[in-house]
């Protein structure tokens, strides 16, 4: 017979895996950008917010059917990616790292301001894309929202992996990540790859925002906190590793749920929010290249 404690543990792990999968999805975009152009995007939250708000606007505000609203949201996300890459990052290629970091803060600020101006900061109800009636997996209740979001994310990640592995464009992206000069001399449009990696990043962030929005049943600016979890995920997995993103995301999701479940009574709440960042600092101290990252980390 399974005890209550074991059920509690399993429940935490299952929720953690489900949320962690969404972190993986959002972190995928971050890692692609870093791999292709060594730009660190400090505005991942805003990309997530952007997707969630545009999806809300198309589905609930404009009352479009889902089959039109979702592709429309993704097209808008692609446009945002193009605008950011063309307008903001391309002029700064080759500039010092502080400039590139700050410019990502800059456009994040603009995106946040525009969203706030357009839709205000109230919580917007978000349609449940999946049914919310929990079913039982053995003794453990599982909500279908978590299951379906996990399945969706895994399918997406599998699709992206196949894309990188086998398609011509995916191969060109890997070549650019490996060595920009060689890739360019072999006829790969490196600038095109930069733009493409930003578009993929905005699309996966938007998808992450939509999934989180439907899991939570509402969209507001607190979704931004989820976007920031991208940092612990990529540091744990390795800044330039796609495999690390999947493992890191799930690990961070499970870890934050477990620490929240077991340490909250000790520290008086909120441990879930800070635990990933404690892990981040520890990983940076002990193993800065993460689990799967390339080892040539800048060291002093």
């Amino acid at each position: 017979m399974v005890t209550d404690q074991a059920v509690f543990l399993l429940q935490l792990v299952i929720t953690g895996v489900a949320v962690g999968a969404v972190y993986s999805l959002m972190a995928l975009g971050f890692v692609l950008i870093y791999k292709a152009s060594t730009v660190v995007n400090f505005g991942p939250s805003e990309l997530v917010l952007f997707g969630a708000y545009v999806a809300w606007a198309t589905i609930l505000n404009m009352k479009l059917p889902l089959a039109i609203a979702l592709p429309l949201t993704l097209v808008v996300a692609i446009l945002l990616g193009l605008v950011i890459e063309r307008g903001v990052l391309r002029p700064l290629i080759g500039e010092p790292i502080i400039s590139v970091i700050m410019v990502t803060f800059g456009f994040a600020s603009v995106v946040r301001g525009v969203l706030n101006m357009a839709w205000g900061s109230d919580t917007r109800p978000f349609p449940a894309l999946f049914s919310s009636e929990p079913f039982h997996l053995g003794p453990v209740p599982v909500s279908p929202v978590h299951l379906w979001s996990f399945v969706t994310v895994m399918l997406l990640l599998a699709a992206f992996s196949l894309f990188f592995k086998f398609s011509l464009i995916g191969t060109a992206m890997r070549a650019t990540a490996d060595n920009q000069q060689v890739a360019q001399s072999l006829g790969v449009s490196v600038k095109g790859i930069f733009a493409l990696s930003w578009c993929i990043a905005t699309v996966v962030s938007a998808l992450g925002g939509i999934i989180l929005g439907s899991v939570r049943g509402g969209v507001d600016f607190s979704l931004a906190d989820y976007g920031l979890k991208v940092f612990p995920v990529v540091i744990l997995g390795g800044l330039d590793s796609v495999a690390g993103v999947i493992v890191g995301g799930v690990l961070i999701g499970v870890l934050e749920n477990l620490s929240g479940g077991y340490l909250d009574p000790v520290f008086g709440g909120g441990v879930k929010e800070v635990a990933p960042f404690v892990v981040l600092v520890l990983i940076l101290m002990l193993r800065p290249y993460g689990l799967f990252g390339r080892r040539d980390v800048e060291r002093v």
């Binding site: 660190v40 400090f42 903001v88 002029p91 700064l92 500039e95 790292i97 502080i98 400039s99 970091i101 700050m102 410019v103 803060f105 800059g106 456009f107 994040a108 600020s109 603009v110 995106v111 946040r112 301001g113 525009v114 969203l115 706030n116 101006m117 920031l228 940092f231 612990p232 540091i235 520290f267 008086g268 709440g269 909120g270 929010e273 800070v274 960042f277 404690v278 981040l280 600092v281 940076l284 101290m285 800065p288 980390v297 800048e298 060291r299 002093v300």
Partner: protein
């Protein structure tokens, strides 16, 4: 006629003022500043006070980021440690304010030392991410150490008193703030005429070369964090006395980004730039407010849009300066000055 920089001795290279006019102008400016509280209304005094505090904080961040090249997104955490330790020392331990601010700044320095440790192993974007994490950890501790900090609500701080004379109005605290701004600026200006300051710049420009000529990276990186967080500690202490309340929301990540924006817009690696940046970032929302007030007749909702308009304008300003004037307002001012110096015979 003199038309350009001729520096033929070390003394002329090191001097602060190149001509005789600036020190006179500066003295006049300070004298004028001392008279401001007699004429200005509380609104503009409040703005000036916030500019003064921002100047101290921005100089601190510029020493770390602009001069030593260590990217920190944790400046809001430094400020919060300064503000909270000042407030706790005064409210809970009964320490008088003139002792509490230096003590709190010292504490913040120790905290900065701790923050600086990752910089010994990490640089560039890894350090930026580490300081980002440190920011969240600090914010967590402040919210959850309720016995000391009173959690999300924060607590009130009594006005500072000098010889039984309470500094409880904008005009009175104005003198305290600017009495600290002036030495803060001069200390920073002089710091970069000394061995330590030169070592900071060497670490920024090429750390390996600096290490080869005998600059201890270990020592100077930590020292930069210590000095920078001392400034932040003072600025935080003044914030606690100026707003007379400390609460966690006043030190969000956006504050850290605002300070980074100040030094980028003002000019990285420039003391004068920190002052311009602090003034720019503090005045911009006020200008937006004025604009919104005049628009309310046409568009009644204008006031509600200030917060988002501020985000958009800040973001655009950051992007604009990074693309077109990476050395910031300080550089624009220098160009303006040298244009008039040579006018009308520019060649």
């Amino acid at each position: 006629m003199r038309c350009g920089d001729f520096r033929v001795s070390y003394a002329s290279d090191e001097r602060i003022f190149e001509t005789r006019l600036p020190p006179v102008a500066l003295a006049a400016l300070l004298a004028l500043l001392a008279l401001v509280p007699l004429v200005a209304g509380t609104y503009w005094l409040d703005v000036l006070n916030r500019i003064g505090i921002a100047i101290i904080g921005a100089i601190g961040l510029n020493i770390l980021v602009g001069f030593t090249g260590q990217i920190s997104i944790g400046h809001a955490a430094f400020l919060s440690v300064g503000a909270y330790s000042t407030a706790i020392l005064e409210v809970k331990a009964g320490v008088p304010f003139w002792l509490a601010i230096p003590l709190a700044a010292g504490l913040t320095s120790g905290f900065g030392l701790l923050f600086g440790v990752p910089s010994l192993r990490l640089k560039g974007l890894y350090l930026a991410i580490a300081t980002l994490a440190a920011h969240f950890i600090t914010a967590y501790v402040i919210i959850h150490w309720e016995r000391m900090t009173n959690g999300v609500l924060g607590f009130n701080v009594p006005p500072a008193t000098v010889f039984g004379f309470p500094l409880d109005s904008d005009a009175r605290i104005f003198y305290l703030i600017f009495a600290l701004v002036v030495p803060a600026v001069f200390f920073a200006k002089n710091l970069f005429r000394t061995k330590v300051g030169r070592a900071f710049i060497a670490v920024r420009d090429r750390d390996v070369a600096a290490a080869v000529i005998g600059v201890s990276l270990y020592r100077y990186k930590l020292l930069a964090f210590v000095i920078s967080s001392f400034y932040a500690g003072v600025a935080g202490g003044l914030m606690a006395h100026h707003s007379r309340i400390v609460f966690p929301d006043a030190f969000s990540l956006l504050v850290a980004i605002d300070y980074l924006a100040m030094i980028i817009i003002g000019g990285m690696g420039s003391i004068l730039g920190s002052i311009y940046g602090a003034a720019f970032m503090t005045l911009l929302p006020e200008v937006l407010k004025l604009g919104a007030t005049s628009l309310t007749g046409v568009y009644p909702n204008a006031f509600g849009l200030i917060a988002s308009a501020r985000d958009i304008v800040f973001g655009l300003a950051i992007i604009f300066f990074l693309m077109y004037e990476p050395q910031g307002l300080a550089r624009i001012w220098m160009r303006f000055r040298s244009f008039w110096k040579l006018w009308p015979y520019a060649y």
